[in-house]
Amino acid sequence: MTELTKLTLAEARDKLRAGDVTSVELTETFLKAIDEADALNAFVHKTPEIALERAKAADVRIAQGDAPDMCGLPIGIKDLFCTKGVASQAASGILEGFTPEYESTVSQKLEDSGAVMLGKLNMDEFAMGSSNETSVYGNAINPWRRGNDDAALTPGGSSGGSAAAVAADLCLAATGTDTGGSIRQPAAFTGITGIKPTYGRCSRWGVVAFASSLDQAGPMTKDVRDAAIMLEAMCGHDEKDSTSVDLPVPNFEAMLTGDIRGKKIGIPKEYRMDGMPAEIEKLWSDGTEMLKAAGAEIVDISLPHTKYALPAYYVIAPAEASSNLARYDGVRFGHRATLAAGDGITEMYEKTRAEGFGHEVQRRVMVGTYVLSAGFYDAYYNRARRVRTLIKQDFESVFAQGIDAILTPATPSAAFGLGEMTDADPIQMYLNDVFTVTVNLAGLPGVSVPTGLDSQGLPLGLQLIGRPWEEGDLLNTAYALEQAAGFVAKPGKWW
């Protein structure tokens, strides 16, 4: 039965439809796998009753023959998504005990399509982090290890629990969110596939907001086909999010032909960073050769403002976060500090936020407050927004030259050890997102695909960046890369 957990979404869908297995059997198998994997700290709120109830309903739907692709498939939901009647804390102490009375649009769409929620997944607090070390639940652990070394590694962040759960076969797939790389970096660190769609593809309604102009939800899956299947179920226009686009949602899976002959793939010279590890360099050139061998035309391109993406991000994202997180004041939901005699409302706000927010969140809220404060707004915030315009124009001009997709490394290194970055200054941690953050600033779709292992046996991924709204074409290029790379490695089970 354990083999059931190793299925892809597509394989499980086909088995369900063929009557080889029921959703209840599948769900029970995963619930058992989850209970055996507490050492990974991936699932932080388990929902076995909801899962079995939905699995039973899915089996009825499948028997009736009208089941959508996701029907009966057990998945995990990142804790950032509000789920009705189920704790939704964004991994923060300030949302301790918060149980939404509503369901996020994305998780509702998945539920409507018959997907089975197994529980909520660990993450960095308010999605602020690249290692899952800022979570109030404690670290999520990467199922991968360096050779025979049993040191615990990060699954990446912020969607670290989602990445660990999918890589360890605790669910068929999971939702993630990506503000600066939070789907693609953890996917690369755990040898799975993750796509951040174009800004506006998925509704943000009911997803706890971090930086609203950058946040997007997306699927984290075992392969590209699964990403296509799950993305289709997640996206679409939503009246409750005016930034969600009113465009038809294509059948992404049907676009996976693997034929990329004549496609123009751009290789941006600015992504060849000083001090880039030789292994990442090789991974990248190998990936380039694979796409070339598949018939694509390789073109050297320039994205001149790349260097300024991270600093612009670290103005814009904290600025938006400081505004979004103003709502956590101890009045309407979540934690409220115990007050001393004579404390007024200001003391209540200040103590509540000092107790409820972790260190990294406090720092980002304060940096955001500073860059938006009188006298600095133009120098920092408006300048960063101007640089963002230039970063987007860089991409627009290469797409205007006929480039179909851009190939880059997904991360500057393989997964690092938990605690290894504790003493580094915050900028060292921020550099994890150096290849991914440009894509959020430009609102483009980006997908991370595992294509190799480093010398210590850890997975490495490449990123493909596509034109806006052309996720189908992007996924097809990713599919061709996946087929050429033939990445099949899995972490050995130690948990």
């Binding site: 174009t198 005016s242 600093p311 409302i345 963002r388």
Partner: protein, 95 residues
């Protein structure tokens, strides 16, 4: 631009986050690390460049200006740390 302890204290106050006196030097240092990183943006020529407002060049979708929701006081108050008589309760604001 270097941030001193009194600026750090002012920012903490604006952000409504209580920071103890003895934590201010470390906080100011962290701010300076982040702001030093951000300073790079000054190298970019942004003359005549519009600040980005929306990353997707489209008009936001409008909807009918009608009531779509409401009448759920109990649900709204269900997560409040202190709700009384149908209201959110907070410490006394006006003397």
């Amino acid at each position: 631009m270097s941030i001193d302890e009194s600026t750090a204290a002012k920012v903490a106050k604006l952000a409504r986050i209580k920071v103890e006196e003895d934590a201010l030097p470390a906080l100011a240092q962290e701010f300076n690390a982040v702001l030093g990183f951000i300073e790079q943006l000054n190298e970019v020529d942004v003359d005549g460049v519009e600040p980005m407002v929306s990353v997707t060049p489209m008009r936001l979708k409008r909807r009918e200006d009608v009531v779509t929701d409401g009448d759920q006081q109990e649900k709204i108050l269900s997560n409040a740390p202190d709700a009384r008589e149908g209201f959110f309760a907070v410490p006394k604001v006006v003397e």
